[in-house]
Symmetry: C2
Subunit: 346 residues, 2 copies
Amino acid sequence: MRDAETVTLVDVARRAGVSLATASRVMNGSDRKVSPELRERVVGAARELRYVRNANAQALAKARSAIVGVIVHDIGDPYFSEILRGVEAAGEGTGQLLLVCDTHRDPERELEYLTLLHAHRASTIVIAGSGHEDRAHNVAVGTRLDAFVNGGGRVVLIGRHHYGGDAVLPDNRGGARALMREVLAHGHRAVAIIGGPPHLTTTHDRLDGCRLAFADAGLTFDPACVIDGDFSRESGEAATHALYARGDEPTAIVALNDEMAVGALTALRERGLRVPDDVSLVGFDDIPVAADVTPALTTVNVPLNHIGEVAMRLAREPASDGFRAAHVAAHVVIRASLGKRSLLKP
Amino acid sequence: MRDAETVTLVDVARRAGVSLATASRVMNGSDRKVSPELRERVVGAARELRYVRNANAQALAKARSAIVGVIVHDIGDPYFSEILRGVEAAGEGTGQLLLVCDTHRDPERELEYLTLLHAHRASTIVIAGSGHEDRAHNVAVGTRLDAFVNGGGRVVLIGRHHYGGDAVLPDNRGGARALMREVLAHGHRAVAIIGGPPHLTTTHDRLDGCRLAFADAGLTFDPACVIDGDFSRESGEAATHALYARGDEPTAIVALNDEMAVGALTALRERGLRVPDDVSLVGFDDIPVAADVTPALTTVNVPLNHIGEVAMRLAREPASDGFRAAHVAAHVVIRASLGKRSLLKP
DNA sequence: TTGTATGCGTTATCAT
DNA sequence: ATGATAACGCATACAA
């Protein structure tokens, strides 16, 4: 362990008896303009010296680093980790480094990460978190994104956003509409909805879909049936308890994502209510656990993995003048947690 | 959007009417040696010009970037995302950028990431995946880590490893021993164990603990009761089916992690076996879903979050001559999935 | 095909 | 306290 000096390309070049330029071409250049003989000498020297390239110097020289930053709301949320898997799969073998940024649903932190990625001259920024309804925040995000794009960066958005750029758009509204239609078709009329954070476009879109289903069936939608959650398991549990505490007696509960549905399941169990015998329960997203809980959750399958892949693929294509939108369908998955409203009960 | 030129510190300095050095001191230097007046001029100019620092240039000049790399086996596995939360929390506000590297349990990819982080001159590498029992791989990891440390990097390991360095060590053996003791105390003798990947030290340690519990009770441990899994939910499901397919009739199943236990639960349900009436089931780690499945899982609580925090705290302390080890206890959590062996059954 | 020389944006070491 | 200038390690335009 005596060699505390860092080995640079110059060292490699000297050792191989070639110029710095040639060494550079061999080690990193996409150029093939080096004779096999010299190439071998350089590779050999690099190995002997245990040369490790300095990515920062490369990024500085090239004015762009090989980093792809992905901004998510919560890395522990299966919704995002599934998307990440897709992004990763599509980025495999491209030599790009995936940088995962977790905002914890904090808009402030989202802005910080945007600046950070810009500072690192990332090649691409993928924003996987839902767009916000907060006007000031949208402006701030737009400003940062503009600056980033002007500097030569690529931006891809997942879900509806207020920034114009390439986007992958899951059909939240259509999925919710189909889901609620199914719930109504099972005879339910006393429906409670556990909503998401009011400032997210995902929440708005899914609620919209629910409303449309009521309209489709010629029923009136009572806004009071919505109780807010924040997309976390805990909030689903709390919201469910709150529901009963305020006297509601739904025959079906619709959680706007699976995590909250799982929380709701726990709450219902604590209250001694059986699903779906006493009350039906449905979620949204179809994350892996949805099939593991008892009873298995009826939900809307959003192909998270696929969405991540598409996003990454968009990112790798050169920027176009206008912006492209890739629409992704979402379909209802019926499982045990949704039952017919018992005819014996009013 | 006309300004496609990138703003540099030189631009800021010129605009503020000061030298590059002064501008640098104001924007990034820890130095306080700048008059309030000039400082304000620089800050103002930077804001007007929308200056964004070039992190690559900084890293090159400082010979070290502000990146902390965390290597995990699977970002979607709650075990790791919980650890990540802890790391993140402890790193909050330090200006360090968290880089999450997902190996998908592929040793080859682990090596690649090690090189990548070295290339980016990361300040710290945290390896959260369990150590391997594969000798060749350990040597390769050791070589890379040595080079990284020699170059001035910090390394912190989570779980037992064959590399000497600062480490956070959860008590896998003790936890498994206590868990198995509990299982035996409930009267179970026909016990099946769903093991982890044979090359992971975590698997070895937990199995060891199980063996010790048998010895403690004066019972002989039959190695044949172990069936291999790979720590994934799917493998837990498959292993359980395999168990019955080969004719085993355990009264209790011990999965060496919760994910596999959840999979086992699904398999048992498919087979019409009730838990814990027909067969008891326990897991390990106490990830969030453990409490959400039905019945709730008896398991061993490993304070994942805390482990991540400790790791990050260790990382922020300067390297010491010897290496430090932070031991973390694990304790059994009794929930509904573990029952007494029915006396009516043989 | 190979080598020479310059620039990338900052930090840090000197002077002043 | 402030300014001039030399690294930092690499890619690349240009020359040979």
